[in-house]
């Protein structure tokens, strides 16, 4: 199909299996939304509702097949708000460990000098 032609960039990702998350993000989060009384109430048609119900229903299975991006969405998941902090904490702990190891080496050397 003409619209699938590969791009002229070296940084283009393959448009296939690995981009399901991209497809989901676009078709679930973007696109024209209709509000009002002309819409059928399919699962309350609000897609946010549909999304939330799907998350509750099948988050474990979804994770297995890589459909879990919404669990890291701060708007949909309160857990996501902690993730960034968690990552920063981990980095800080690692640096602290490294610093302590260095200090210990330094202390050994000092003790060696003293004897």
């Amino acid at each position: 199909m003409q619209n699938r032609s590969t791009s002229g960039s070296r940084y283009a990702t393959e448009h296939r299996a690995d981009s399901l998350a991209d497809v989901l993000e676009r078709v679930l989060d973007r696109g024209v939304v209709i509000a009002g009384d002309i819409v059928v109430s399919v699962v309350n048609v609000e897609l946010l509702t549909l999304k939330l119900r799907l998350i509750i229903a099948s988050v474990e299975t979804a994770k297995e097949i890589g459909l879990d991006w919404w669990t890291r969405d701060p708007f949909l998941s309160s857990r996501a708000q902690g993730l960034e902090l968690e990552a920063e904490n981990r980095r800080l702990r690692e640096r602290l460990d490294a610093l302590e190891a260095r200090l210990a080496t330094g202390a050994d050397r000092l003790a060696g000098d003293g004897s």
């Binding site: 973007r30 399919v42 330094g106």
Partner: protein, 250 residues
């Protein structure tokens, strides 16, 4: 009360668009309904086809398959019509009267929006940390005899200076990327930064004749970002999902 059947919407298209034989999300024939100088690409589906997704026992893969199918139909309409405004997955109207009322009400926004996206394609650009980047590697400063404390402080100071220069260089490279891409595009939309390691997540609406300049900027800035431990990824081309009129709630 929910009727058994409804009109599933894929996209708005110009009123003169033509579409070949296409099957929709439920295998239904997809057609263009024309009204108010616009076209709606739609198919008649059994509503419980979508309601089934709501079932706790539903296979989440079914949503993935539905999303891909929706995207395929939008792309087919896009290729045939030249310009589309995709609807969000799962948009269903009660009947043709409702579709006509919708177009009567919204033609004033949809028409100009279709013109804006004509001859353009959407490209997604994300930049994320490379996994190896967090391990800093400073050249060790030789400890002057018997003065490891001084050496430690010097090393620490060197690390801080480097980290600051590194942050500065990165933010400069990112600004350059954003500036150059924005120049080649006619519009930009911010994404959701799906994971914490994503430092930039934008979609760009790029006229086809500006694509060579856009890709050139992507490649040059992508190389520069790599030097600073950041990986750029380009996805697309996409129909203009991120560049549709916003619904204002009544």
């Amino acid at each position: 009360m929910t009727p058994a059947r409804g009109l599933y919407l894929y996209a708005s298209v110009p009123h003169d668009a033509q579409l070949g034989a296409v099957r929709g999300i439920a295998g239904e024939p997809v057609e263009i309904m024309r009204h108010a100088r616009l076209g709606l690409v739609l198919g008649e589906v059994a509503v419980d086809r979508l309601a089934g997704l709501d079932d706790p026992a539903a296979d989440p893969g079914a949503l993935g398959a539905l999303a891909r199918r929706h995207d395929e139909v939008v792309r087919t309409a896009w290729a045939a019509a030249g310009a589309v405004l995709p609807f969000r997955l799962g948009t269903v109207l009660v009947d043709r009267d409702a579709a006509r009322r919708y177009l009567d009400e919204r033609a004033g926004e949809l028409g100009p929006a279709l013109q804006q996206v004509a001859a353009c394609r959407e490209w997604g650009v994300t930049v994320h940390e490379r996994a190896t980047e967090l391990a800093a590697h400073a050249d060790p400063i030789a400890a002057p005899d018997g003065r490891p404390g001084t050496a430690y402080l010097a090393r620490r100071r060197q690390e801080l200076v480097r980290a600051e220069a590194h942050r500065h260089a990165r933010s400069h490279a990112l600004s350059q990327l954003e500036g150059e891409l924005r120049e080649a595009a006619i519009d930009v939309a911010a994404g959701r930064h799906r994971t914490p390691d994503v430092v930039l997540d934008n979609s760009y609406l790029v006229p086809r004749d500006a694509e060579p300049a856009f890709f050139d900027a992507v490649d040059r800035c992508g190389d520069l970002l790599l030097e600073h431990g950041l990986q750029l990824e380009l996805s697309g081309p996409w129909p203009p999902y991120s560049f549709v009129p916003r619904e204002s709630r009544p």
